[in-house]
Symmetry: C4
Subunit: 278 residues, 4 copies
Amino acid sequence: MHKVKETIFEIIEGADENGSRWSRFFDLFIVGLITLSILQVILESYRNIYTRYAEQFHALEVIIVVFFTIEYLLRLWTAGLKYPQKGGMAARLAFVSSAMGLIDLLAILPFYMPFLIAVDLRFIRILRVVRLLRVFKLNRYLKAVRIVGSVIMEKRSELSITIFVTFLLLLLSSTIMYYLEGDVQPDSFPNIISTFWWAIATLTTVGYGDVYPVTGWGRLISGIIALLGIGLVALPTGIISAAFVEELEKVKNKKTKPKLPEENYRYCPYCGRPMEEH
Amino acid sequence: MHKVKETIFEIIEGADENGSRWSRFFDLFIVGLITLSILQVILESYRNIYTRYAEQFHALEVIIVVFFTIEYLLRLWTAGLKYPQKGGMAARLAFVSSAMGLIDLLAILPFYMPFLIAVDLRFIRILRVVRLLRVFKLNRYLKAVRIVGSVIMEKRSELSITIFVTFLLLLLSSTIMYYLEGDVQPDSFPNIISTFWWAIATLTTVGYGDVYPVTGWGRLISGIIALLGIGLVALPTGIISAAFVEELEKVKNKKTKPKLPEENYRYCPYCGRPMEEH
Amino acid sequence: MHKVKETIFEIIEGADENGSRWSRFFDLFIVGLITLSILQVILESYRNIYTRYAEQFHALEVIIVVFFTIEYLLRLWTAGLKYPQKGGMAARLAFVSSAMGLIDLLAILPFYMPFLIAVDLRFIRILRVVRLLRVFKLNRYLKAVRIVGSVIMEKRSELSITIFVTFLLLLLSSTIMYYLEGDVQPDSFPNIISTFWWAIATLTTVGYGDVYPVTGWGRLISGIIALLGIGLVALPTGIISAAFVEELEKVKNKKTKPKLPEENYRYCPYCGRPMEEH
Amino acid sequence: MHKVKETIFEIIEGADENGSRWSRFFDLFIVGLITLSILQVILESYRNIYTRYAEQFHALEVIIVVFFTIEYLLRLWTAGLKYPQKGGMAARLAFVSSAMGLIDLLAILPFYMPFLIAVDLRFIRILRVVRLLRVFKLNRYLKAVRIVGSVIMEKRSELSITIFVTFLLLLLSSTIMYYLEGDVQPDSFPNIISTFWWAIATLTTVGYGDVYPVTGWGRLISGIIALLGIGLVALPTGIISAAFVEELEKVKNKKTKPKLPEENYRYCPYCGRPMEEH
C-alpha cells in the first residue's frame, strides 16, 4: 500500500531531469490537458462557435475536470511525502494552502461552483494557464527561473518603494489634474478616481488617447508626469540590473574562490623562516 | 518640565525599530489621520457625494486639522531636541524651513488660508500623501530608501545633464516641428510652446494621438525624436543601473574588508612570533 | 580547375579586413545590388510609379535576379571549401540549409515562383535586406556583433522565461478583459484572440487608442497590465545589462590574466635564483 | 598687441573654475544673450505677438547678432592661441570647421542669409540653444559630460548595430505591413515609405493611434513589432549600463591601485632570504 503511494508520488511529483519515464509522460499528459482546456476557453469566447458546439464543449470540460480532480486528489493523498516533516493532516493542509495547491483547486472549482452559487465563474478556468508553470519542472529553465525569482525577491524592498512612490505620484497628479481639468472636461476627469485612469496611462507612457489634458496647466503637469514616467522605468530597471550583476558575481565567487597569495608559502613572507620550522 | 518635552519628543520623533510603544502608536495614529484625509479629498471630488455630505466633510476636516496643528506645534516646540547644535529660535526656524516641516505646514495651511485669501487651496490637502513618507520611519524599508536616495544623489550631475539635453532636444524639435507643421495644422501646432506638448508626448513615447504630424518632413522629424526617446530611456537607466552596481559593491567592500598583509602586525600573522624579534 | 574554385571562393567568401581587392569589390557590388533591389521594392509600392515604369522594374528585377542566381550557384559550387570537413554533396546541403543559404535562396526564389504557383510572392524580395547583414563581414562591427549575439545566446533561457511569462500574462489579461468588456464593447472585445490586440498594445505601452476599456474594472485591470508592462521592460533589460557586464569582465580577465605567485617558477621571481637551489 | 590678444583669449575661452572674473562675466553675458534670443524665437511663433512687435523683434535680433558677430570674429582672431600647434590660417580654419565653430556661425548666418537668398532661415536661430552647451564650461558638470560622452563613444559600434538592425526591422515590417494592410486601408498604408510612419510609431511604442492595422495578420505583425520594441529598449540600455559600470570600474582602478601583497616584503616569500641581500 505505502509502496503504491510512493510510486504515485514519484510519478506526479518527481518530474525533473532524473524523473522516470512514467512521470515524464504524466507531466506531458497534464500539460496537454491544460493546453486543451485553454483552447476551449478561447474558442468558447467565439459566440457563434460556442452556440453551435455547446454540448461538445461541456463534454470536453467534464473530461478535463475529471482528470484534474483525480490529479488533485492524488496530490492531496501523497501530500505527506511532499512535506515529510509534517503529519498527515498538517501536510494536506500545507498542500491545499500552498500557491500551487490553490491554483490546482481553482482549476477545478469553477466546474463545481455553479451547483453551489449562481455566479458564472467559468472564466476562472483560464487560471489553468498558470499551471503551465509546472512545465518548467520538466526542463533546463529551472535554474533561470530560480535566478529571476531570487533577484526579484532580494530587491523586493527597493522595488516596493518605487511602487509606493509611484502610487503617491499617481495620487498627487490625479488630484492636481482633477482640479485643473475637471471643470473643462467633466466627462474625462469627473472625479479623482477616474483621473487615475489618465495618470496611469500617462505615467506608464501607454497614452491611449481617450483622455488627455487640453488646458495649458494640465498639459504642463501631464508632460512632467510623462517625463517622470521615464524615471519610473529607469529605477526598477536599474535595481534589477544591479541585482542580476550581483547574482552572477555570487555564482562566480562560488565557483572560482580566488586563491590568496599568502597561502601555502614555502617560507614565511614576514620573518622569512621556512614554514616547516613552526 | 524639560522631562515632559523629552518624552513628547521621544513619542513624535523616535519612531524607528527601537521606538517606544507610545511612539509607534502615535505614528500609526498620524498615518491613520492622513489616510482618512486622503479618502476625504477623493470622496469630495465626487460632486454628488460632496453636495450631500458637505458639512460632515467639513467637520471631519476640522478634526483632522486640529490634530495636525497640535502635532505641528509639538514638533515646533521640541525642535530644539531635533537640532541640538542649534539654539531655540534657530532650531525652530530649521524645522520650519526643512522639507518635512514645510509639508507639515502645507498639510494644515489650506484650512486657515480661506480666512485670509479668497483662492480655493483645498486641493493642496492632497500634499498630505507626501506625509505618508513618514511611514518609512516605521519599517525595514529605511535602508532601501537610503540606497535609492543615495544612488540618485550620487548621479545627480549625470542625470541633470540628460535632463538638460532632453530639454534642448524638446526645444529644438518643437521649433523645427512648428515651422514644418504650423501652417498645415495651425490648430495642433499654433506656436512653439504648444508644440512642446507634441514633443513631450513623442519623446516620452506616450503618444496620446491628439497631436501628430501629417506632412512627410514632420513625420520624419517625429520618427527621429521617437527613436531618440529610446535613448532618453536608455541613458538614465544605464546611469542608475551602474550606480546601483557601485552601491552594492561598496556595501560588499565594507562588510568584507580584505586584510592586507602589509598592515604592521605586532605578531607575525604566520609564525606568530613578535615582529620585534626579527 | 581546382585553382579557379579556390580563387572564386576567396573572392565571394574571404571578404574580411585581409580580403583581396577583388573580394572587397565583389562584396560592394552585391551590397549595391541589394540596395538597388530594396529601392525597387519600395518604389513599386507607389502605385502610380509602378504602373508607369512596370517594364523597367521588371527588366531591373531580371538583371538583379540573374546576378543573385549566379552568386548563389557559385556559393553552392564552392560550398565544399566552406565546409571542408564535409563531402561534396553534404557540404552543398549544409550551405543550402544554413540560415544565410536559405536567405540567399529566398532572395531569388520569388522571381521563379510565379511560373510555378499563382500566389504573389514579390514582397518576399524585401528579405534581401537581411542579406545586408553580410555588410558586417566588411567592417570593424564584426566584434560588436559577436558580443551582442553571444550575450543574447547566453541569456536565452532567462529571456525565454520572461517571454513565456509575458505570454501567460497576455492570455490571462485578455480572458479577464474579454469577460469584463466583452458585453459592453462587443466590437472592441469580440473574443479572447481579438482582445490580445488590446493586451499587447497595453503591455508594450504602445496604446494606439483604437481599443481601450471603459468600465471601471476593465480600467483597473488595464492599469495593472500597463504597470506590469514596466516590469516587462525592466526584466529583460536587467538580464541583458548583467550579461553585458559579464561579457566585458570576461574580456578583461582574458586580456589581464593576473600572474599568481603560486605558479611554479623555474627562477625565483624575487631574487632570480634558480628555485632548485633551495 | 599680442598681450591684448592673450587677454581677450583668456576672457572668451578660459572660463572654467579658475577663470578670471571677466571671463566669467563674459560667459554669463553670452548665456544671457542666447536665452534672450531663444525667448525671441518662441515669442515670434505667436503670430499676434509677432505682427504687433515686428520691428522691436527685428531691433533685438540686430543687437543680438551684432554681439554674436563680434564674439565670432574675436574667436576667429584668437584661434591661433586655441590651436597653438597650428599656424595662423590653419588655426582659423580648424576653428571654423570645428563643431562649436560651425554652430557659432549658424547662430549668426541666418541673419545675413536673407540678403543673399530668398529662403527663410530664421528658424535656424533656434540652433543657438546648442550654444548653451557652453554653459557646461562654467560648472562642475564637465566631468559628468565627459563620462556620458565617452560611454556613448566607446559603445558606438554596438549601438550602431542596434540602430542598423532596427532599421532593417522597420524596413521589413513596413513592407510586410504594406502588403497586408495596403489594400484594406489605402489611406493609412498607401506605400512602404508611408508605412514607415506606422512602423516607427509601433517599434518605439509611441502609438499615436492615427495609423494602426485592422486585419488579423496585420495586428499579429504589429504585436510582434511592439514586443520587439521592448528588445529595442533593452539592448541599448543594457549596452549603456554595462559601459557605465565599466567606466566607474576604470575610475576605481585608477584611484585605488590595489597594493599587491608580494610588494615590499622584508623577506623573499619564495626563497626566504632577506630582500636586502639581493
